[in-house]
């Protein structure tokens, strides 16, 4: 008797690249006509053995693994390694191109909390709606209702439309519903990045509880310390292939080793076709080459847009390998009330940090794009990796900021004697 609850066998996922435009219909008819006559489809290339041949792209290539009952499995890998594609297939958002996945029990994903929240509906109505979308029956939600409200700490506002909620309340409510789902298998993708520190802690506790309750958790994250803490075992994906499936220490070492020779990854790009938006460049100090402590840091996003966009917010974070939470996080909304108006063509958004009082070392710049309170469109904790070099503090004669702190706080010392 085996106690596997997930078995992934030779999984492939292929994406078609390029724009689907006016030519598609004609091509599709051509392919279809060829198939009808039993001839070869003129639109498929034969013998493409590369991962990408310009038209097609393998996001997952022959991935096989098993997950046992009650296991907490970490899935790690760099951007575009196929982690999210894997979760999407597991949560049945999209179907694989080849291969099978077998699952025992109900599977639920926290790919993005707050799915299906309707801004006009009240908290109560949204709990039911969201719960049902996630696969709960009305009875189950009835039973859990008080617990959910308690967990989210929103008793007072339960009958207020969620569009009047603060973003914190919104996220708390969304996570609370998802956390009380009680599926046999839980898929978590980077959601713990949201909310304040104390709420994060609560969520972590909930996840641990879920795992202890004999349920299986698949955890995708860029936050290595968190993965290390939560998952005894992990798998590492590289360019769509599973390269390591072992205990977490081993997998993390392998990941770090592969990561080492890669320094500052400018330019990083991001394409958000749904918004008609493309972040073409992210510059760190466009004019200066080095990033030094106590020097200004200018993060510049070069965004190309197809159409005008309002209400979008950009979020920047700074984090570090050996630290769970963010060192720094800022958003154009709602803290700064800096309204982003994207115009067609090229847009530049600059976040200027006057004094970067961080110690030398390797850091990650995180980038988020969202409609505040409505939808997080993109968030990547390790969007860009950068190094802060050793240097003198300001114009003083002191040596570099010691590396055993995280930040440098402006301070002075003094002494006094006697009375």
């Amino acid at each position: 008797m085996s106690d596997n609850v997930i078995r992934v066998e030779n999984l492939y996922k292929e994406y078609r690249l390029g724009v689907l435009g006016h030519g598609t219909l004609a091509r599709d008819l051509q392919s279809w006509w060829a198939r009808v006559r039993g001839k070869e489809d003129p639109n498929t290339k034969i013998g493409h053995d590369y991962r990408s041949d310009g038209k097609k792209f393998l996001a997952l290539e022959n991935v096989s693994f098993e997950v046992k009952q009650g296991e907490v499995l970490g899935i790690i890998g760099r951007n575009g390694a196929g982690k999210s594609t894997l979760l999407k297939i597991l949560s049945r958002v999209t179907a694989p191109t080849k291969g099978t996945v077998k699952i025992k029990g109900r599977i639920a994903s926290l790919l993005e909390v707050g799915t299906g929240f309707h801004p006009e509906l009240t908290g109560r109505e949204n709990i039911y709606l969201n719960g049902a979308i996630l696969g709960m029956t009305k009875k189950e939600i009835d039973k859990k209702f008080d617990e959910i409200v308690d967990f989210a700490e929103i008793e007072k506002f339960i009958d207020t439309p969620v569009k009047r909620y603060s973003s914190g309340m919104y996220v708390r409510l969304a996570f609370a519903v998802a956390a009380h789902l009680e599926p046999e298998i839980l898929l978590v993708d980077e959601v713990l990045a949201v909310g304040d520190a104390s709420f994060q802690k609560k969520c972590l506790g909930k996840m641990g509880e879920v795992a202890k309750g004999g349920r299986t958790v698949l955890f995708v994250s860029h936050n290595m310390p968190m993965v290390e803490k939560l998952c005894p075992r992990g798998i590492l994906l590289e360019e769509g292939s599973l390269v390591c499936n072992s205990d977490i220490q081993h997998v993390l070492n392998r990941y770090k080793f592969a990561d080492e020779d890669e320094v500052c990854r400018t330019p990083a790009t991001l394409n958000l076709p749904n918004l008609g938006l493309e972040i073409r460049q992210v510059y760190l100090n466009k004019e200066y080459t080095n990033i030094k402590p106590y020097m200004p840091l200018a993060v510049e996003l070069e965004i190309y847009a197809k159409n005008e966009l309002h209400g979008l917010a950009f979020n920047l974070t700074i984090s570090r390998d050996n630290c769970d939470s963010f060192i720094f996080s800022t958003s154009t909304m709602p803290h700064n009330n800096f309204e982003v108006v994207i115009k067609p063509g090229l847009n530049r958004i600059v976040c200027h940090i006057k004094e970067l009082n961080l110690c030398s070392g390797t850091y990650y710049l995180g980038l988020g794009v969202s409609f505040p309170r409505v939808e997080t469109i993109f968030f990547e904790r390790e969007f860009l990796k950068f190094k802060i070099e050793d240097s003198m503090i300001r114009d003083s004669v002191l040596p570099s900021i010691p590396a055993y702190g995280l930040v440098y706080l402006d301070h002075t010392w003094w002494m006094s004697y006697g009375q």
Partner: protein
């Protein structure tokens, strides 16, 4: 070497046996076959459908002053405008029926069909953000739309009945008859046809967005190709066969006949219309089941 492969083969067989003994609840496979709709699963998600209905209905008129009154004003104003434009100005005859009631009957029934069609036609595109994150039977969304529209139809239907009673009491020449009992069947047919066309369009719009633009005025054109603003008796006999290809013509005709009398119901026409509806509905379901699994990759 041979022994080695033997061992491997026997191990494989053992594995397969083991696999058969395991109870998998879900097996995710690439898209297979041409029909892949899981009805029992849809039934399990009935609570979700109910909540979608509630959401659509409640959210529709939040932050409006008149609220659900809009359900009544829409057909009322349309019927008034039709009476003025087509009845008074264009002077299109209405088989001797009160003009207002004639248009009201057509508009009430047509509205239900048109709403089912247009609102289900953007199922995939409008719900990308939900569909992209979580799985539930995608068919739940268009089904919920059809049910939501049924509620607004009921409200409008009550208004229509009220006017019918009023005109009857005033001594107008209307003759409600036994066909009134066929109304539920007509409703099912309109729902199936609207849903069928709607999900065909929604399945195709995942790839070809052009269709989304077509839906709005396509429905408008379809309305004028259906005897809504004119009775079928006004069409020259030698052209009436054209209406055989419009399943809505028979439905509207029957609906109007049931309450008002006049303009007859032709059973063969009705049967053909039902057959066409079933065909469209079936094609819709098949297309939908083909698209729902991988549309996230193309949308």
């Amino acid at each position: 070497m041979a022994e080695h492969t033997m061992k491997e083969a026997s191990a494989k067989i053992k594995m397969r046996e083991k696999e058969n003994s395991e109870q998998w609840t879900t097996v995710i496979k690439p898209r297979t076959g041409w029909f892949d709709i899981n009805l029992s699963e849809l039934w399990r998600y009935r609570d979700l459908i109910a909540l979608f209905v509630r959401r659509d209905f409640v959210a529709q008129y939040k932050q409006t002053i008149l609220g659900p009154t809009w359900f009544l004003l829409q057909p009322l104003f349309t019927a008034i405008v039709f009476t003025v434009v087509f009845g008074r100005i264009a002077q299109i005859p209405t088989d001797g029926l009160p003009q207002f009631l004639f248009y009201m009957a057509g508009v009430t029934a047509w509205n239900y069909f048109a709403a089912c069609l247009t609102k289900t036609s953007d199922t995939f595109v409008a719900n990308t953000s939900i569909f992209g994150k979580v799985y539930f039977p995608r068919l739940a969304v268009p089904i919920a739309i059809v049910i939501t529209n049924l509620i607004s139809f009921t409200i409008q239907f009550v208004l229509f009945i009220a006017f019918t009673v009023y005109f009857y009491a005033q001594g107008s020449s209307i003759e409600p008859n036994i066909w009134v009992f066929a109304i539920p069947l007509l409703l099912i047919q309109m729902a199936a046809l609207g849903l069928g066309v709607g999900i065909i369009v929604s399945s195709l719009t995942t790839k070809y967005r052009d269709l989304a633009y077509l839906v709005g005025f396509g429905t408008q054109l379809w309305m004028y190709a259906t005897p809504i603003v004119y009775p079928i008796s006004q069409i020259p006999a030698k052209w009436q066969w054209v209406f055989l290809f419009n399943p809505m013509a028979a439905v509207i005709g029957t609906f109007r006949y049931a309450f008002l009398g006049k303009s007859a119901v032709q059973l063969p026409q009705l049967a053909l219309s039902a057959a066409l509806t079933i065909l469209v509905f079936f094609i819709g379901i098949v297309l939908f089941s083909r698209v729902e699994k991988t549309f996230m990759d193309t949308v």
